[in-house]
């Protein structure tokens, strides 16, 4: 297990700015903590929104807290096609000129002119983890996931190193399905 990393699947989700939380859920609203996520400080919220694209809508999309400087919608490319929106493959936070959509909440709507992305596959590591794996922040590696019938090596995996992280690789639902990376799943980091 020396070079094995936990692989977690990120389903579609939304990050919201303070301003957009107020528009969608009402003046004075704050996000309601439902469940901690694996990354310290990150949590799933009780609140949900509908993501509307020009082609279709996806209702009941989970919001992840805490609030962020800019709202961001992370979808799979399957979702992007369903919605009829462009979703470039980007690192979280890199939303300049990304896809557009409308968010609909119980108290209002927000037109996002950008913010829709497909998350670039990545590995969260603490500095100690990074040293153990022999990788650096921003380094691109490959990760091999062995499964019954869909063994896959994902290239273009970016390492992200921060003392506040917990060690885990994040892939989206398309990637998870393509590799049959279900249940408790570990990948092998290949440099």
């Amino acid at each position: 297990m020396e070079n094995k990393i936990l692989v977690e699947t990120s389903a579609r989700h939304v990050h919201l700015s303070e301003e957009h939380i107020k528009v969608l859920f009402g003046e004075g609203a704050t996000l309601t903590h439902k469940k901690d996520l694996s990354q310290p400080g990150q949590f799933a919220c009780e609140e949900r929104v509908t993501v509307e694209g020009p082609k279709k809508s996806i209702p009941n999309v989970i919001i992840l807290g805490p609030a962020r400087p800019a709202s961001q919608v992370e979808v799979s490319l399957t979702d992007a096609r369903t919605l009829g929106v462009k979703a470039p493959v980007r690192e979280s936070g890199d939303v300049c000129c990304s896809g557009a959509c409308k968010l609909v909440g119980p108290c209002g709507e927000v037109e996002l002119t950008e913010g829709v992305i497909a998350a670039k596959r990545h590995i969260h590591l603490t500095p100690a983890d990074a040293e153990k794996f022999g990788v650096e922040d921003k380094q691109i590696v490959s990760v091999k996931i062995e499964s019954d019938g869909r063994t896959t090596i994902f290239g273009d995996v970016v390492c992200r190193v921060n003392p506040n992280f917990a060690p885990a690789m994040h892939i989206d639902t398309d990637e998870s399905n393509a590799a049959a990376a279900f249940g408790e799943c570990y990948g092998e980091i290949i440099k």
Copy 2:
């Protein structure tokens, strides 16, 4: 391009038996040719069905002809989750104890107790292609697809050799999205 193979994405589709064509589209109905597919003799049809699972339905699913001995529904694992059905990763035709669903057509419905699968990724080859690539029928290979930000090596790719085939690798929409295998795309066969 010596070891490069054309990569095509198969979207969700249905193959129907003669019996089920009659139930869904009426006594005396036959499949209406709309468009040839890359594999000789295979064609997309004008007819569509709704695939119903216990969780949700997917309307307007394309039928591929000609008729087959047993009906078969090929979905992505994203689709399988949407429908709420089990879809084992299988080669086409290997439907024993696979997933169940209901098919709804304009003239009737069919309860499939089995037939829902996620297609095992595969390469169609003629004997001459197989010789050129140095592979045999049923051989398992890997295929590397290079793309902007989602380079991927798919393992567990089964080679299928038949004089009636045209050379092409087939992956499903999850796999295509995971590798950003869009447009005219070629993969490198790795043995």
